[in-house]
């Protein structure tokens, strides 16, 4: 690991066992909240990153609100464009510092207030500020199972699933980069369920490893997954918020099904 980029004295790996690289940026959403009215590049990037990750639940929500495909695409694009240019975030202090709730509230407000105004304007022109794959959005939406949840519930569920998706992709990416792609592919089912009840023997057989080694590998995988999950949740929240509380909320949302 290299020394940190801002020139602060870093401890080389030889000195310490596990050196925590000082990270000077905090979570994405807290950066955005802190920036408030001022439009720093840091804040813009953070917000853009969050939007890139979580646009799909919002699109699904809009579709669920009975808008046509074309309208939903326009709306989503317009919403994000507005979000990035309009400093709505200074209002976010009213919400409890969670990007998820902020997004939902802002979108429903947008749909009721702004959409009519926007319609009056001419369509076309204007370069989209975010490269959202809106055309794939509809394909994904088409594959969604039908159920009778409200648009808000739908959004929440989609959000939770997107979050999990993102985390798992990151986790897989890490393992892939270290050349342990096969290991991940074999072990990822162990992310679910109690640690004691995993089929270690079977896995060991399949991987050609000692059972003890498999246990260690699984432990490491689950631990890293937890870290990433909490980190990803943290990105969408202000620093004062409780990650466990958000986890409980997401659990409740998914259990509703």
């Amino acid at each position: 690991m290299s020394t940190s980029t801002n020139g602060a004295p870093g401890f080389s790996d030889s000195a310490a066992g596990e050196y925590q690289h000082p990270v000077f940026a905090t979570t994405h959403w807290s950066v955005v909240l802190k920036a408030g009215q001022s439009d720093t590049t840091h804040a813009r990037d953070a917000l853009a990153r969050l939007c890139q990750t979580y646009w799909y639940p919002l699109y699904a929500y809009v579709r669920r609100r009975d808008h046509s495909v074309h309208d939903a695409q326009d709306l989503t694009q317009a919403f994000f464009a507005r979000l990035l240019e309009r400093h709505w975030v200074s209002d976010a202090k009213q919400e409890r510092g969670r990007f998820r709730t902020f997004l939902l509230t802002a979108m429903s407000r947008f749909l009721s207030d702004e959409w009519d105004k926007l319609r009056a304007q001419k369509r076309g022109g204007g370069i989209p500020l975010l490269p959202l794959q809106l055309d794939t959005g509809e394909t994904r939406y088409g594959h969604e199972p039908a159920d009778n949840s409200t648009p808000e519930q739908y959004f929440e569920r989609r959000w939770a699933l997107t979050l999990l998706d993102t985390v798992l992709q990151r986790l897989r990416g890490e393992y892939d980069r270290e050349g342990k792609g096969a290991l991940f592919a074999a072990l990822h089912p162990t992310l679910v369920g109690d640690r004691e009840l995993q089929p270690y023997a079977k896995l060991a057989d399949g991987l050609g490893m000692q059972e003890g080694a498999v246990k260690v590998a699984v432990h490491r995988l689950r631990k890293r997954y937890r870290q990433l999950l909490r980190e990803e949740i943290g990105e969408t929240m202000a620093e004062s918020e409780d990650i466990d509380e958000e986890l409980r909320h997401l659990f409740a949302v998914l259990a509703r099904r």
């Binding site: 004295p9 999990l164 679910v192 009840l197 659990f251």
Partner: protein
């Protein structure tokens, strides 16, 4: 088509959109911190590593010495040779670090702490693990901690009152960033060599503690609590009741309680007992401090101060009022709102609130009178200016304002009984404003209000001024007065965004007998004092302006324009009026003095000049070809007449007529008043002649032959201006 899959763990069916084919519920469940890692065995007591051992783990640092040891770890003084600065290296006991969840909390909290960049907070430079030990690297504070100061008992109240506000600043800063200290105690309050306070170990209790730990009691003072698993959560003597009962649910008010304990200890040298005795009973201090300390020590968080900055304000107020030379000071913690009024619909002039519609109208009309001053500067001939000559500037502007004051004063004298106070109406209107229904608040306001400001404007103004203040935390009635058909109420209000404000609501009773809003004003609490100061400065400005104009007048003498002199008086008078309004402010007092001096000087000058002008005269051309003579002894002019006294000596004839004329550009006076002439006989004598009106022109005394004919002796006289004029005309003698 696949058969529906089932999660192997929870046995629930899996939807096709699940990530990586895994059950999302169970995935989330796996995200919760597990209990499996917590150990049951007791940890061995922590022996801190020696300096040599530590040096091996931190080759980039020079470890100098162990400076402190406690249950929370050990602190060493070290030096960073590359940066050539001292740092404090805090090593945590290994038992704490073994919890895997700890590492995540540690990283996140430490990042948050690293953002606390404040002169009163010990900066966190680095954190991490070395050789299995978790460490913090912090700012090294060269000084002592409060515990060391308190070891000899209490400290001087003056010192305590100097320390507490600094702690408040640091705490408020942290609270504003969403960080609660949770372990405020004398050991964590450091004082450097210059007496500056630095608060240390912010948030560490949260990092290390986690939530919902059982409490172990019966610990010696200053020692932190350790649970069975070695988790530290705080120091019981300084912990608020809610922190002991539900450690997970504490908010920033727990810090306020701890501060109260520390404050109490600083003042009395003891910890507050079961029943808290007021500090003023134990030591000789200002009784008002009791209230501050006791309120911070309230068992229920809702009864305490809700913000640390309030404690600071209270302490500073008490401190400032004790010193005799304290000027009217602005507070050191500014809120976002600046000093100007936020929302107002009633007219304010020079900081004085006018509420009666009559007075307000007068003020608006007075603006016209101000134009008269401009004419003085640019010589713009305004219609009718000639008539209002020295008075338009004065009576137009200041006069009408003076009238407005009078009207307002009279209105305010009409005070009604308290029973006819429509307080509920005011409160329900305020409730509408609080709820953000600005449209509704406009709809229910008085017609006068609606005429003065449009609905859209009102909503906009409210949104930009009232809405950012947020919801009302507390609102206490301060004064309520009724003047005839108007009702003015003031409240001491704490908003979420403006902690100390004064709301002034004005209601008026309309023709239908209903009370409706005509004015709403929010001012930061300190603005009142600041307003007074501002008013005083205004007063002094006008009083001083009089002096400046006076100098200008002297430069322009001996013929200064009358308007200038009147302006001096007007400015001085105005300065005095404003000064009286702000008489409690030193500027106001000074304004009264300066204004009075200027007014007195120039009033005297004006009177004297008038007198002087009315009595002085210059002799102009004379013609006494026959040896007669006329001598003037006095000339007195008033608006209506000119009286001239003197002696004559008639030698050339036996009888003559002596007359007083004023040659004007139009005609000679055609109908001479009998007082204008007198028959004289040869020899010497006195005369007194009166010209019935004073017109611009050249006054002269002539002797005429009795039968008629032109004058045979003439004497022109007049003011200096007239004499100069006459000289120019060259009447040819």
């Amino acid at each position: 088509m696949d058969t529906e899959r089932i999660c192997p763990s929870c046995q629930k069916p899996l939807a096709p959109d699940v990530p990586l084919g895994l059950c999302p519920e169970c995935l989330i469940k796996s995200g919760f911190p597990t209990g499996e890692e917590s150990a049951g065995a007791k940890r061995p007591p922590f022996t801190p590593p020696t300096v040599e051992e530590l040096a091996k783990l931190f080759p980039q640092l020079e470890i100098l010495e162990l400076i402190g040891k406690g249950g929370m770890g050990a602190v060493y003084k070290a030096r960073q040779p590359r940066l050539n600065r001292f740092v404090a290296l805090k090593i945590l006991p290994p038992s704490i670090g073994s919890d895997p969840a700890f590492a995540e909390r540690f990283a996140r909290e430490a990042q948050a702490l690293a953002q606390l960049n404040h002169p009163g907070i010990v900066i966190l430079y680095e954190f991490g693990q070395a050789g299995g030990l978790h460490f913090f690297m912090m700012e090294f504070v060269d000084g002592i901690n409060l515990r060391q100061l308190l070891v000899n008992g209490r400290i001087a109240p003056r010192e305590a009152l100097a320390i507490v506000p600094q702690i408040c600043d640091a705490l408020q800063f942290a609270h504003d960033h969403g960080i609660v200290h949770r372990d405020i105690k004398p050991e964590n309050i450091l004082l450097d060599r210059r007496g500056r306070v630095k608060v240390a170990d912010f948030g560490l209790a949260k990092i290390i503690g986690g939530a919902n730990e059982p409490v172990a009691v019966g610990r010696p003072a200053g020692a932190p609590l350790l649970t069975e698993t070695g988790k530290i959560i705080g120091t019981p003597q300084y912990m608020s009741p809610e922190q002991i009962a539900h450690p997970a649910n504490v908010d920033h008010r727990a810090d306020i309680y701890a501060l109260g304990v520390v404050f109490y200890q600083m003042l009395t040298g003891e910890l507050p007992g079961k029943t808290i005795e007021p500090p003023s009973k134990k030591v000789h201090i200002d009784v008002r401090l009791d209230e501050v300390v006791l309120r911070a020590l309230e068992k229920k968080p809702e009864l305490r101060y809700q913000q640390v900055s309030e404690v600071k304000t209270m302490v500073e107020t008490i401190v400032n009022s004790e010193s005799t030379t304290a000027p009217v000071a602005a507070p050191s913690t500014r809120t976002r709102a600046d000093q100007s009024p936020l929302v107002h619909i009633i007219e304010t002039l020079f900081g004085i609130t006018f509420t009666s519609p009559g007075a307000i109208t007068l003020i608006k009309v007075s603006a016209l009178g101000f134009l008269a001053f401009l004419s003085f500067l640019g010589d713009i001939p305004l219609p009718g200016m000639h008539h209002f000559f020295g008075f338009s500037g004065f009576s137009g502007f200041f006069g009408l304002i003076g009238f407005a004051f009078l009207v307002e004063f009279v209105e305010r004298r009409k005070v009604k009984t308290k029973s006819s106070y429509p307080l509920p109406v005011v409160e329900s209107w305020l409730a509408i404003m609080d709820a953000g229904n600005y449209a509704q608040s406009w709809d229910t306001a008085a017609k006068y209000f609606q005429k003065a400001i449009t609905k859209v404007e009102w909503i906009e103004r409210s949104q930009s001024a009232r809405q950012p203040q947020g919801k009302v935390i507390s609102r206490q009635l301060r004064t309520a007065r009724r003047f005839g058909s108007r009702f003015i109420v003031t409240f001491d209000t704490a908003f979420a965004g403006l902690k100390a404000a004064v709301e002034t609501v004005t209601f008026s009773r309309e023709h239908d007998g209903q009370w409706r809003a005509i004015g709403y004003l929010i001012l930061p609490a300190y603005a009142e004092r600041a307003q007074l100061g501002w008013l005083g400065k205004q007063a002094l400005f006008f009083a001083g302006l009089a002096g400046v104009l006076g100098i200008l007048t002297i430069c322009l003498s001996p013929n200064p324009p009358a308007l200038l002199v009147w302006s001096i008086l007007a400015a001085a008078l105005f300065g005095i009026i404003l000064g009286i309004c702000a008489r409690r402010n030193p500027f106001g007092k000074r304004a009264i003095k300066v204004g009075s001096i200027n007014a007195a000087i120039w009033l005297i000058v004006l009177i004297a000049a008038n007198l002087h002008q009315s009595t002085t005269f210059y002799i102009g051309q004379t013609s006494f070809p026959n040896g007669d003579s006329i001598v003037i002894t006095s000339v007195r002019r008033t608006k209506e007449q000119m009286v001239v006294k003197g002696h004559y000596n008639l030698v050339s004839t036996d009888r003559a007529r002596l007359a007083l004329y004023i040659t004007t550009s139009s005609t000679n006076s055609t109908h001479p008043d009998s007082r204008q002439w007198v028959q004289i006989s040869k020899g010497q004598g006195d005369f007194e002649l009166t010209h019935p009106h004073v017109v611009p022109g050249l006054p002269h005394l002539n002797m005429y032959p009795v039968g008629g004919g032109g004058p045979f002796a003439e004497l022109y006289f007049g003011t200096q201006a007239e004499a100069a004029e006459e000289g120019r005309l060259g009447l040819g003698y």
